[in-house]
């Protein structure tokens, strides 16, 4: 697709537009992806004494670790001030879903699910890591994926 810059003093606030003859599912998804990339939705994380704004799309998961909630990105792990239940509410409209009482994951990093012979549901991330989803949250995950 051709990318064209339209520069004019009229555009006081820059915006991106997709010009097309007909609307298609691919283009709508492209729009959503661009929106996600430029999203101003950030969460503030702490790494030592440093405070870092982290865009939501970079976050793989939030989890409880040693009585604190941390968020994990590909590069690092940051401590956040929210509780898991607060994040679940805060992020319900984003691509995040709670998979247990101590973990929320970003669906965009979800590779697949597997089950152990003893019946433990394992969540496999695109990063190669894994976690566990409780049966209670399986129904919610299914509903979310059906949307």
């Amino acid at each position: 697709m051709h990318v064209k810059f339209n520069i004019s003093p009229r555009f006081s606030i820059p915006f991106i537009s997709i010009n097309t003859k007909t609307e298609s599912a691919d283009l709508l998804q492209l729009g959503r992806n661009i929106e996600r990339l430029i999203s101003k939705r950030l969460i503030v994380g702490q790494s030592g004494a440093k405070t870092v704004p982290i865009p939501l799309y970079q976050i793989i998961r939030f989890q409880t670790a040693e009585k604190h909630v941390v968020c994990e990105t590909i590069e690092a792990t940051y401590r956040v001030k929210y509780r898991i239940y607060e994040l679940a509410k805060l992020l319900e409209k984003d691509d995040f879903i709670q998979i247990s009482s101590s973990e929320i994951i970003n669906l965009n990093f979800l590779a697949n699910l597997s089950a152990s012979p003893s019946g433990v549901y394992q969540v496999n991330f695109t990063t190669g890591k894994h976690s566990y989803i409780s049966r209670r949250f399986m129904t919610k995950l299914r509903k979310e994926l059906l949307k």
């Binding site: 699910l113 012979p117 019946g119 049966r135």
Partner: protein, 156 residues
């Protein structure tokens, strides 16, 4: 507090369900065996009591306890990070250890090694059957979710 109330309600419902199921089973047996009066349990059990009413009350207590037992042990399946196999095994052990004395007290089967062996075998088979159904449903669920994940990634 909300959780406590829910659990309490669940246990109460379990106790009353136990009474309901026990009563209907006893009523069916009384009808099938053409008993002159309502028999709450085996005649041998009823004969332990001075009056018929006492036997009915004792049976009601047993039915309620069984209902409580099964609604209480159902909570095992809510333990978040236990595997389904561990949940099933623990549920089996607790149910077997607590239900057996109640069944013996109620006179549901004669206390001898043959009957006890048969009873244990039936108990184990029920759990094996449920475990097979359970593990098949887990596999199907995982397969379905994986299809949805693939569909979602194709759309992204």
């Amino acid at each position: 507090m909300k959780n406590f109330k829910r659990r309490l309600l669940q246990l109460t419902f379990g106790a009353f369900s136990g009474i309901g199921i026990g009563f209907l089973t006893a009523l069916t047996f009384s009808t099938v065996f053409k008993a002159a009066n309502f028999l709450p349990s085996a005649p041998q059990f009823v004969s332990h009591f001075a009056t018929h009413l006492q036997a009915i009350w004792a049976s009601t207590f047993i039915w309620a306890t069984i209902g409580l037992l099964f609604s209480g042990t159902a909570l095992i399946f809510e333990i978040e990070f236990w595997s389904s196999l561990k949940q099933t095994i623990v549920h089996f052990l607790i149910s077997y250890l607590l239900f057996t004395p109640l069944a013996i007290w109620a006179g549901w089967f004669p206390v001898n090694s043959l009957w006890l062996l048969l009873y244990t075998l039936i108990f184990v088979l029920i759990y094996v059957f449920f475990w097979i159904i359970f593990s098949q449903s887990i596999k199907a669920q995982v397969q379905q979710i994986n299809q949805l994940i693939s569909k979602r990634s194709r759309n992204c």
